[in-house]
Symmetry: C2
Subunit: 149 residues, 2 copies
DNA sequence: TTCCTTGCAAAACTTTTGCATTAAA
DNA sequence: TTTAATGCAAAAGTTTTGCAAGGAA
């Protein structure tokens, strides 16, 4: 049985599974076995994972998934708004399970990304958009360095 | 002679050259022929260029430059603060000749980047940084879509 | 049957690197 | 003469694609 709540108090696997199925259905994405594996891994909590990390994690846990399917699935999820793709440093894409509006800290020393909730940032003033355009979204990345002590 | 001012009123090539030499000297970068070509191209005005665009432009104008040198030089410039490297969409790096603090509009339809001067954005509130860290820089990209008319 | 999904391998693309050659100090 | 910069080709890393095989409707 794997219906227990884990040591962090995270939602039980069954609940995550159900949650993923519901969200995929809402997006009109057919819940195949591989997609469910990727979704349950990524959507289990707010996190930022790369395609390679997801592939490695799935392989480690014994799943049979190809690299092509991981990439295709992540692109599919992102295009349907199930996850969000981030461009942080250009070296690779990061996939964010949190699609609610939010911003990021980027720790330059470790590479770690940390979510910044919307209420933590307030704009007093934003530039007027060019004619014929409107704001689709705002990407804010606050780069962090180690404070010299 | 190519010391005329061009039709846009931009600085004359000689002035740009001198400007580049001075800035490279300030950064302790030896002004070799290839570096000067890349610098005069990129630093002639505020703009965003990819490595391939720079390589193509140099080749078109008859310069003998290798791809490796273009990449190595751009990395060198960026590491010395002569230019700024941007991660906008993950597909490739963009090199920004404007190293003064500023933000960007990103037109999703055309891919075009537009500078947003600092005074156009004011933060009323920013999140507290995690312990032991301080802000190194703030990257703000305002994504634009075409306004439905 | 028909359509969609998957895996595998190959390809595409951007960027980096090794090394011999060239240019500069 | 000694060090640094360049060009070329190859390699590396990430992501996409073609196609045959498998699976669901």
């Amino acid at each position: 049985m794997d219906s227990n709540v884990d040591s962090n108090g995270a939602a039980a696997p069954e609940a995550i599974k159900a949650h993923c199925q519901r969200r995929m259905a809402d997006c009109g994405i057919r819940p195949t076995a591989q997609r469910m594996r990727i979704a349950t891994l990524l959507l289990s909590e707010p996190q930022h994972l790369s395609a390679e990390q997801i592939l490695a994690s799935l392989r480690t846990s014994g799943a049979r998934v190809s690299k092509a399917t991981v990439y295709n699935t992540l692109n599919l999820f992102a295009s349907h708004g199930l996850i969000r793709q981030l461009s942080v440093d250009g070296s690779r894409a990061w996939f964010d399970s949190n699609v609610d509006a939010h911003y990021h800290f980027h720790d330059l020393a470790s590479g770690v990304l940390i979510d910044v909730p919307v209420p933590e940032v307030e704009f007093r003033r934003l530039p007027p958009t060019p004619p014929g355009t409107e704001v689709e979204g705002i990407d804010l990345i606050i780069r962090l360095r180690r404070k010299p002590s």
